[in-house]
Symmetry: none
Subunit: 226 residues, 4 copies
DNA sequence: AATGAATGAGAGTTCATTCAT
DNA sequence: CATGAATGAACTCTCATTCAT
């Protein structure tokens, strides 16, 4: 579970209980907000409920976050935007083949994002982005762009190393993205599934799609119909 | 574009202006409602705005539909639920191979649903179903179930005719559904796309996925892990 | 059942069915209105429902009565205000003792008003008069005043003939009125009664109260404070 | 005037202004609501007006009472339902004869209910109960039943002590109730009274009716016609 | 720092009345 | 005469945000 990194968490060994709670506040609020945003969406989540779930009063929420939109942005930072630095470093350090890197990336993505609450944020943005242009712009800038850049570098790495065919990179990004996005939507759209989620095994689905994608990338299937 | 079949439109060459408007009203309202529901979602669409777009006043809307929820249900009936009868007939009459039938179905689906406003309804249900349980139940019953049944029959046809491997049918349904659902989401989540939709050519994407799926169905890839 | 006397009902032996219906319209509307006003009250009765019960359209109602208030006034005229003329004549012609006249009046009132739907109008005015000042004024003028006058003449007759003590007439009126009004309220307040109206036998109650009142009138109990 | 006992009012000598207001709010709102319900009835009273009369905004009202119906129930509790406990105790402790007890009860009822705004609630229920079934049921349960029980015990006491004839108790209840209910209706139906309420002196009316009722109870007049 | 009472714009829905046909 | 489609003001209830304490 990501700790509160949006608000400084300077380490300090000795700390009174009261004070610790105070410093934990933003994190608790972000945690509650993530829960509720994912469960109900942005518009349908009431500020008061976020506060209640974090164990504080409505007023306190607005003490830390000047508006519901800013709260949402903080949630995005905490759980997605703020983590690209580490991810980029991690993947840059990868030493194996690019197909293996891509397999690794998709597995890791599933573990850290896809299978967690965090994937609900992406679903939320797809659903409500149109109604909250400022949030959409923020998400674009802070999540979509870095995410695309990350994938672009990987694909470019494959092309540069001769492991991938010289595909059109911007198109290839979406080939990789598509199965991940579908899984997120699926996972959070319980209302549309018939008999609980027995039907779709996410990990098998993802593994299969990964291979399909790799097949395409290695053989330039994405560029022309066979 | 589907004509108003939800409300009877008996032909009658001579017709007073007022009366014609009356008969056109439900259709106009459903049309406006579809637009707005797709654009903003269910909760964020204001009844008055639907009325305004149809060129009538707030009160008139409630003359035809007793509540916003019923309006939505009527939109679903008009554009999805009410059309399964014809689709079933059409596909039952297909005489070629089952792989060709599946290719036909997916192309036709794209033409008539996926590429039109109607796909926005499915996106909407995935996004807001959780907040409107009655609508979710209605959609389940009137759209999801018939849709699954339609696909199930096709897949079963393939198995029966020895064209498909004896895959687990309920699982296979989702393999077919996945790319269609992804496309719908994608199309209606402009707020998340970077530079307009240059990036993803839906028809190419769909064609490719169709072949992948068919490959899986014909070789039972979905039945056992490679 | 009082026929439509508010609208002229000139007798005419031969009449086409269509035309008769036309002339019956106002009466049917008044009848429906009486039903609904008594059942739901003035404010809670919807114009459309009155029309529907009379078998005509909303528009037709407003063709005969320019507003809901005028409709109500017509109902009052038809069932109460317009009948004082006949009642006065009838009671003026009474030849027995004044106590017997009073007994007769109260019995007759119960038969023609108290026990019928019409008593609901009085209840309605007591309940909603405050919210509809114009109706209250109309009812005052057209029903309360004539009613008081009717009773005043009877009581005065008793005094003049030496049958009643020289009571304060205006006070005595209310002594007579009270049990009648209570009965009306009671009859139309089913929501407050515990086990259906088994408990109160209106006729016995009225008979008893009549004797009590007569006792008071004959012995001037109402005339001086003890 | 009944103090706010529906909401606890723990005494606390020192109190910040804001907090004092908060504790007073429910009482102020109930007070305003009683005023307006009595003046206009339930349906015709607008929530916003209640709030305004209590000196707060629309929203504040709904902070304390989740709906107009609940507000009404609270008013009933505060002014009627919640007071039967004390009344029962008080009357149980009475040591005189049962006729004196009944005289006392009726006098006390007039002082504490009949002559106050509270009697307007009963009038309101008689007028609008039919349109608001849930309120009617609540009033039945919380007021009518306890009220009947209270009277039943008194009448039974009289019979048990040989002071009353062995009348049918359930019928006798209504004999006692009738004059009280008439007075309430009368008092709140100003719109029907001719020249202000000069005409009916409630206390004299009640005293007279009390004696009539007692006469009946002591001599079993209620059981058979003389 | 923390509270929670208070606000008020805005949503869905109802219904008396009008008027073109 | 008769219709019923259309209107729009009015009503109840919600919730993000403010601010005195």
């Amino acid at each position: 579970m990501p700790a509160s990194s949006y608000f400084a968490d300077k380490l300090c060994p000795v700390r009174a209980k009261r004070e610790r709670r105070k410093e934990a506040r933003p994190g608790e609020l972000l945690d509650a907000a993530l829960d509720l945003f994912v469960e109900k969406g942005f518009a349908a989540t009431r500020s008061e409920e976020v506060a209640a779930r974090a164990g504080v009063s409505k007023g306190t929420l607005f003490l830390y976050f000047p508006s519901k939109e800013e709260l949402f942005k903080a949630v995005v930072n905490e759980n997605l935007a703020g983590r690209f630095g580490a991810w980029n470093q991690e993947f840059d350090a990868f030493e194996g083949s690019t197909p293996d890197l891509l397999r690794h990336v998709m597995r890791v993505w599933w573990e850290r994002v896809g299978s967690t609450r965090v994937s609900g944020i992406t679903k939320l943005m797809m659903c409500e982005g149109g109604n909250f242009p400022e949030l959409a712009a923020f998400y674009q800038r802070e999540v979509v762009k870095p995410g695309h850049a990350l994938l672009r570098r990987i694909i470019q790495r494959g092309i540069d190393r001769g492991e991938f065919a010289p595909v059109e990179v911007d198109l290839a990004i979406y080939t990789v993205l598509a199965p991940m996005m579908f899984l997120m939507l699926w996972k959070h759209s319980t209302s549309i599934c018939v008999d609980r989620e027995i039907q779709l095994d996410p990990e098998r689905y993802l593994a299969m799609q990964t291979e399909t994608v790799l097949h395409g990338l290695c053989n330039a299937l994405g560029a022309s119909r066979p």
